[in-house]
C-alpha cells in the first residue's frame, strides 16, 4: 500500500478557538491508483491534501496517522518531511498563476526540485528540465526555460506546475483542483495529460475536485466528503451507477446530462455547516430529504454496502440494502 491515512483529524484556530476541520478521515491509496476526493467547497478536501504533507498554517492541530510506503510520516520532523515533499510526494495546486513565483523563470522553478532532492550537475538538470517540458507537452522548451510565468497562458502554467511536480518522479501526486481555474478546453487537455502520465508511471494520484466530470475522466476510486467527514467511498463506476448516500446522489443529480431536457437541474438545498457550529448527528441531515430522527442524534458509522463500497448513512446497513427494514446497528444506536 502506498498511502494509508488513519483517523486523521485537523483543527484550526479560528477567532481564538480551535474548530475541527477534518474529523477522523481514513482512506488508502494503492500504487498506480487514482483516488478522487469530491465534495462542495468548504468540506475539507483541500485541507485533507495539505494535511498529508503538513503544509498547514502554524496554528493547526493534527491528529491521527499518515503512513507513506509503510513509514509513519505523520511523526516525521519538519526536516525529514522536507526530504519527502517534492521528491516522493508532489503537489499541484488550483491556481497556476499565483502558485508560481512571479520573479523566477520557469526553468529555475522546475530545476529547484532537482536541486533540492538530487545530486544532478547543472548540465544534467537543464537536460532534465527540457525533457520535463517536453513530457508535459510544451513546445519550444529551449525558449520557455527562460520565460516568466506571466508570459504564459493558464494551461501552459498548469503544465509547468505538473512538470515541477513530476521532476523527481514522485510515487504519489496530490492534485488540488488542478483544472478549476482553467478554461474548459484547457481542462480537457490537462486531464488528458494527467491520464497520459498515469499510464506511463506507477504513481498513485489523489485528485481533489468538486467536479464529478473530472472524477469520471481520471479516477479509479472516489471518496465523497461532507463537512470534514467521509460519507461515501467506492469504485468510480459503482458510485456513478449506484450512489448510496443522499449527498452523493445530490452531487450526481446536479450534473447536466446530454440529451435530457430537464426543467431544472437537481440541487441540494442549504450549505455546508461551518466547523464552529457542527451538529451532533449526521452533518448532512439538515439538507437531506430522507432525514430521520436518528440522523439528528447519532452520527452514522461507515458501513460496507458491497466490497469496496462504503457509506455512512442510516438508510443502509452492512452488506447491501437487500434488507429494507431498520437494521440491528441502527436500532442499537437508537437505543443509546
Amino acid at each position: 500500500m502506498l498511502l494509508n491515512v488513519n483517523e486523521l483529524s485537523l483543527s484550526l484556530k479560528r477567532a481564538g478557538k480551535y474548530s475541527k476541520i477534518l474529523d477522523q478521515i481514513s482512506f488508502q491509496v494503492e500504487e498506480g491508483e487514482t483516488v478522487g476526493i469530491v465534495g462542495e467547497s468548504g468540506c475539507g478536501k483541500s485541507m485533507t491534501a495539505l494535511s498529508l504533507m503538513r503544509l498547514l498554517p502554524e496554528k493547526a492541530l493534527l491528529e491521527g496517522e499518515v503512513n507513506f510506503q509503510g513509514e509513519k510520516i505523520s511523526g516525521y520532523s519538519k526536516r525529514k518531511l522536507e526530504k519527502i515533499r517534492g521528491n516522493q510526494v508532489s503537489m499541484i495546486f488550483q491556481d497556476p498563476l499565483t502558485s508560481l513565483n512571479p520573479l523566477h523563470t520557469v526553468g529555475t522553478q522546475i530545476e529547484e526540485s532537482l536541486l533540492l532532492h538530487t545530486k544532478m550537475t547543472k548540465k544534467e538538470r537543464r537536460k532534465r528540465v527540457l525533457q520535463l517540458l517536453n513530457d508535459v507537452g510544451l513546445p519550444r522548451a529551449e525558449d520557455l526555460i527562460d520565460e516568466y510565468p506571466h508570459q504564459l497562458s493558464g494551461g501552459m502554467r498548469q503544465r509547468i506546475m505538473i512538470a515541477i511536480a513530476m521532476a523527481c518522479e514522485p510515487q504519489l501526486l496530490i492534485c488540488d483542483e488542478p483544472t478549476t481555474a482553467l478554461d474548459v478546453t484547457v481542462q480537457a487537455q490537462i486531464l488528458e495529460l494527467m491520464n497520459k502520465i498515469k499510464k506511463e508511471t506507477q504513481m498513485g494520484i489523489i485528485m481533489i475536485t468538486h467536479d464529478m466530470g473530472v472524477v469520471a475522466e481520471v479516477c479509479d476510486r472516489v471518496i465523497v466528503m461532507y463537512a470534514g467527514k467521509i460519507v461515501e467511498e467506492g469504485p468510480v463506476l459503482e458510485i456513478f451507477q449506484n450512489p448510496k448516500h443522499p449527498y452523493t446522489q445530490g452531487l450526481l443529480d446536479s450534473i447536466p446530462k446530454l440529451g435530457q431536457r430537464k426543467e431544472k437541474l437537481g440541487s441540494i438545498p442549504g450549505t455546508v455547516p461551518a466547523p464552529e457550529n457542527m451538529v451532533v448527528g449526521c452533518r448532512f441531515a439538515d439538507r437531506c430529504s430522507h432525514a430521520m430522527d436518528i440522523c439528528r442524534t447519532v452520527h452514522p458509522p461507515m458501513i460496507g454496502i458491497k466490497e469496496n463500497h462504503q457509506t455512512a448513512c442510516w438508510l443502509y446497513e452492512e452488506g447491501d440494502e437487500k434488507d429494507g427494514s431498520i437494521g440491528s446497528h441502527k436500532l442499537e444506536a437508537a437505543l443509546h
Partner: protein, 339 residues
Amino acid sequence: MRMDALKFVGKRLLLMIPILIGISILTFAISNTIPGDPARLILGPKATPEGLEALREDMGLNDPLYVQYGRYMGGIFQGDLGQSTYSQKPVSADLIRYSPATFELTLFAMVITVLIGIPLGIISASKKDKIADQITRIFALIGVAMPAFWLGLLLLLLFYLKLGVFPGSGRLDSGMSPPTYITGMYTVDALLTGNWPVFKAAVMHLVLPGITLAAITIGMITRMTRSSMLEVLKSDYIRTAHAKGAPENRVLYGHALRNGVMPVITLLGMAFGHALGGSVLVESVFSWPGLGRYAVNAITYLDFPAVMGVTLLIAILFILVNLIVDTLYFFIDPRLKHN
C-alpha cells in the same frame, strides 16, 4: 527591454521639468512673502533710508515679483543661482562646497538603514508574534517616535561625553587635513587615495550623526519589510516552495525576500528624501558642515538665493533618487519589462 527602460527614464526626466518649475515658483513665492527686509539685514541697524533704498534697487527687490522670478530663472539656465547675501559668494559655489558632506552623511544613514532595517524586518516577519518580533517592534517604534535632535543629544551625551568612544562634532579630528578632493566625501576620497587614518576618522565621525539620521528610517523600513514579507509569506507560490521540499531559509531568502522587498525599495526612496530633510536638524546638533547647516544659516539671515538654491537642489535629488528607485523595478520585476 533596454529600450523600454530608457524610454521610461526619458519620460520621467522630462516630467521633472514641470515639477521643478512648480517647486521654484512655490519656494520663490514663499521666501518673498516672509516679512523681513534683506537689505536692512545686510546694512544693519545704522542704515540710512537712502542707503536701504539704493541697495533694494540694486538687488532688484523693488521690481514686481514676476520680474524677480523671471530674472532668477533666467540666471538658473546659465548656471547662476544668484549671490548669497550671507556668505557673499555665488550660491552655486556654496552648494558645491557644502553638499558633499550632506551626501556623505545621508548615504551613510541609508546604508545603515538598509543593513539594519531589512534584516530586522525579515526576522520580525519570520518570527511573527514571538519575542524577536516584539523586541524589534519596540525598537522600530522608538526609532520612529524619537525626535532626531533629541536622540542626537542623547547619543552625544552617552557616547561622546560619558564614554568618549565616538567623536561628537565635525567631519574629521581637529588638526587633521581633509583628503585630496575628488568627490568631496571624505570617506570615499580617503578610500580612493588609500589614506587610512583619515578614512578611519571620517567613518568614526559619521557614526553618531549617521545613527541619529537613520533612526527614523530604520524604524520605517523595518515595519515595512515585516508587513510586506508577511503578505508574501501567505501567497500560493510560497506554499509551492514548501511543497517542493524547500527548507525554511531557502523559502524565506530564495522565494519571499525578492518579492517582499519591492514595496520596501519604494519606501527607501522616500526615506532618502526624509533623511535629506532631516539632515537640517542633525547637522546642527553635530556641527556637521553640510547643506543643512547652510540652509539654517540662510534662513536666519533671510538669504533668499541660498534658500532657493538648497531647496531646488534637494528637490532635484529627491526626484532623481525616486527615478532610480522606479528604474530598479525594471531589473527586479520581470513583469514590468514585458508590459
